[in-house]
Symmetry: C2
Subunit: 473 residues, 2 copies
């Protein structure tokens, strides 16, 4: 009988992946030197984001309904939608969304040095980043980028992804972005390994997966796109040695056990049935409307915002970056009106770690519901007196020893202005009930990874948290 | 290490599924008595489908653009779409589609008798069936049906599906219907097992999976919905005994071997990457347009058809069924202008049967491409002198000993009028090249089943053919 992952395994001898997961020091580049490099890059760069009225956004057109469009007709636009759903009770609302129909590449190159797989990370400036420079994938480009719709150069390393041979591809998935802001946007997440020597440009460094995960323990250091891609690596696909296990913490070994477990409290069939039932049972209808007719929203010369100032607003930004060269451009950015929280509660059940997963409906989701963290309140106020979403209090009141992970992580700085969310992984205490509400299920890491192999199942906030799981000591 | 299917297995002791697959005689009902029963039901019933102008369709409204809508605003409508794609070259066309946003149930009840799982089949009359009565699932109902939008009774057995406990559910998937005719229509395919005695109404009979597959060897006997549901059963999930293997043909044992093989000529990762590349690389845009503005189409009082009379047309039907009771109603039906062909070419590679799978783009597909049979020409003329789709000639010229399966099967008689397609499974000869064009891949049955566990991957024509695979002697 074939084993789990057998259909996926690239190469029985491909031991360098788990080695990479466990390696923090002794790599091509030390962790300290990576940190100094990012800090240096941050010091060297000057980023000015000037708020300007929309009409001063170069190459952007304001349509009569106040929606915003790039003059090429490509790239992205900001449009109005009317949303109707009967979940959890009949509800209707209107809002602006970012409409970016084209699928972008989020690509990471990988190469083995001294028996350890390394990933080529870029120190990338994005206008919306709180700290200017964050680690990003080797390639982060929409079609408009590399078809040069808004000027600029062909992105570095593009051809390694466009021309990758099947046996080079470690990961290749279409995955969603934030459903509350984007209309069905997806990226093509790829990890491509190379064997030959390749040029390493000035803004790029090779690092191990262990190092990337270590850097994710710092606030706003590893960008959303890296997190979204590496979450897709299923460690059950790769061979493991005794030496690797020695490099793992007790928690890491237990997490690997969870990754190797495909049947938890619920079987995959039960989980798929639960999700099919929700997608069957509730409707989500999203219709375009003229943006200036969106109720609760006001389109002004310099912002599109709710009357009550909640959720988020769209602003016009003139971006000016001084680095080795000077670049400037204009674009709209979405600015969150408050910080959000994304948290997984994790509990050991029958000796195996299970994640408490929520089925979440968002207006931009392609298939009504996706699997989301236990707590995800991005755009709704948690503290305004309205009843808080389930488990929010539990997460916010977790005792120190329950907290496995707690950092601030940025959303994509190419579209979001200074948006950071608190990312947490919290261990449930023994008293935490196994019984959960209908929109929640306990899943092993192996089950989440099984869903992650397919499109439109695991949302980006859940992937960001899965990427943060540290296995090494 | 867990084994393939481990996360899905309902019950290690659930041996009655494979037993059902292998049992044709010695069941609750003999095959002969089933056939006589269907023939008798066919004789007893009188079905008159009278073509009427659309304005005489009771409870249907013709909008100013000539689109057709049920007066409840629910059920389904016939509307116009404009389709644009850059695959295989930039192409644009307009056509009517059936828009049925609500997800219907296709549910089959299962129960073990004498150690063999039986399925409760219904002899159901549909207006579009060439032969009036075909075997259909226990439950075949849209929300409009059971919310009684267009009159009638609550469908029998509905509550067994609505109230199924997780451990009763053998299969629960959202799967697509014909993408060339329906706009993103899906059904909730379910198999629910019961242990208690349940009433068996007059139009229903228990039968084994082996019997259903045997009946699929007859023309137009098992309806599309049954075929679409049973295709989802992954035999790798169920335990197998030596006695079962003895009941299988050599071909059946080899097919089971293919079902147990998750890594074929290509790994699952390579196949997913191939599909991600196609979905990334090509665009499909579908916009609603006024139906009477659809180029190439003419909306007349009694038909919506292409000027060249190709593809299909929409007609108005007044249906009158005389049976134990008299029922009549009106509805539009889609009538194909020619017979189509759906065929899988199967080849033994490295000792394992592989299916030659095509990635097919259709206007109503939810995610640009779905996995389709090697040959599927439903709505385009094969014989008009234009170049035939790849492999069509090979299939049509197959020698008798290459043909594993060759019958006429009906599309859903609730929407399609007298539409039947030739369904074929053809064995490739030794000279058949393993090298295939970019839109094709070789997959094992186990790999197809892995895709089938998730939504929006395997199209209904492919599922209809997979359902036809006979394992028993």
């Amino acid at each position: 009988m074939p084993e789990k992952g057998e259909g996926y395994e690239l190469n029985k001898g491909f031991k360098t992946m788990i080695k990479s997961l466990c390696t923090i020091s002794e790599s091509q580049t030390s962790l300290d030197s990576i940190i100094s490099w990012i800090e240096k890059r941050n010091r060297e760069v000057s980023v000015a984001v000037e708020r300007v009225p929309f009409k001063l956004l170069d190459q952007w057109v304001i349509y009569p309904d106040h929606s915003l469009h790039h003059s090429s007709g490509k790239f992205f636009s900001v449009e109005g939608v009317h949303v109707r759903t009967d979940y959890p009770q009949p509800r209707e609302w209107e809002q602006p969304v970012i409409n970016q129909p084209e699928i972008g590449y989020l690509g990471i190159l990988a190469k083995t040095f001294d028996g350890v797989l390394h990933f080529l990370m870029q120190a990338k400036i994005e206008p919306g980043n709180v700290n200017h420079v964050q680690l990003s994938p080797t390639l982060q480009a929409t079609k408009s980028n590399y078809e040069l719709v808004h000027g600029g150069k062909v992105p570095a390393y593009l051809d390694y992804f466009r021309n990758a041979a099947p046996n080079q591809i470690l990961l290749d998935q279409l995955q969603s972005e934030q459903g509350a802001r984007f209309l069905r946007k997806r990226n093509r997440n790829m990890i491509v390994r190379v064997e030959e020597d390749i040029p390493v440009f000035e803004d790029f460094r090779w690092m191990t997966l262990g190092q990337i995960k270590e850097l994710m323990r710092r606030d706003n250091c590893v960008n959303m796109d890296v997190r979204a891609v590496i979450a897709g690596i299923d460690f059950a696909d790769y061979p493991l040695s005794e030496a690797d296990l020695d490099q793992m913490s007790g928690f890491g070994r237990d997490m690997l056990g969870s990754a190797l477990t495909q049947s938890g409290v619920k079987t995959m069939r039960e989980l798929q049935s639960w999700l099919a039932g929700l997608r069957y049972g509730y409707t989500l209808s999203v219709e375009r409307i003229p943006l200036n007719e969106a109720r609760e929203w006001q389109c002004r010369d310099d912002e599109i915002a709710r009357f009550d100032k909640k959720c988020f607003r769209v602003i016009g930004a003139k971006v000016h970056i001084e680095n080795r060269e000077v670049v400037s451009w204009c674009q709209p950015l979405a600015q969150s009106m408050q910080q959000g929280i994304c948290a997984f509660i994790v509990k050991r059940i029958n000796g195996v770690y299970h994640f408490l997963v929520q089925a979440k409906l968002e207006c931009g989701t392609r298939d009504v519901f996706e699997l989301a963290p236990t707590v995800q309140c991005l755009t709704e106020s948690v503290f305004d007196g309205s009843p808080r979403p389930p488990y929010t209090d539990y997460v916010l009141n977790a005792r120190k020893e329950q907290i496995i992970y707690d950092t601030l992580q940025s959303e994509e700085g190419g579209r979001f202005f200074h948006e950071q969310n608190r990312n947490m992984i919290v261990l449930a205490d023994d008293a935490f009930p196994e019984e959960v509400p209908p929109a929640f299920q306990w899943m092993t890491l192996g089950q989440m990874c099984e869903f992650l192999r397919f499109s439109n199942y695991v949302n980006i906030q859940a992937r960001s948290l899965l990427a943060a799981i540290k296995f090494s000591k």
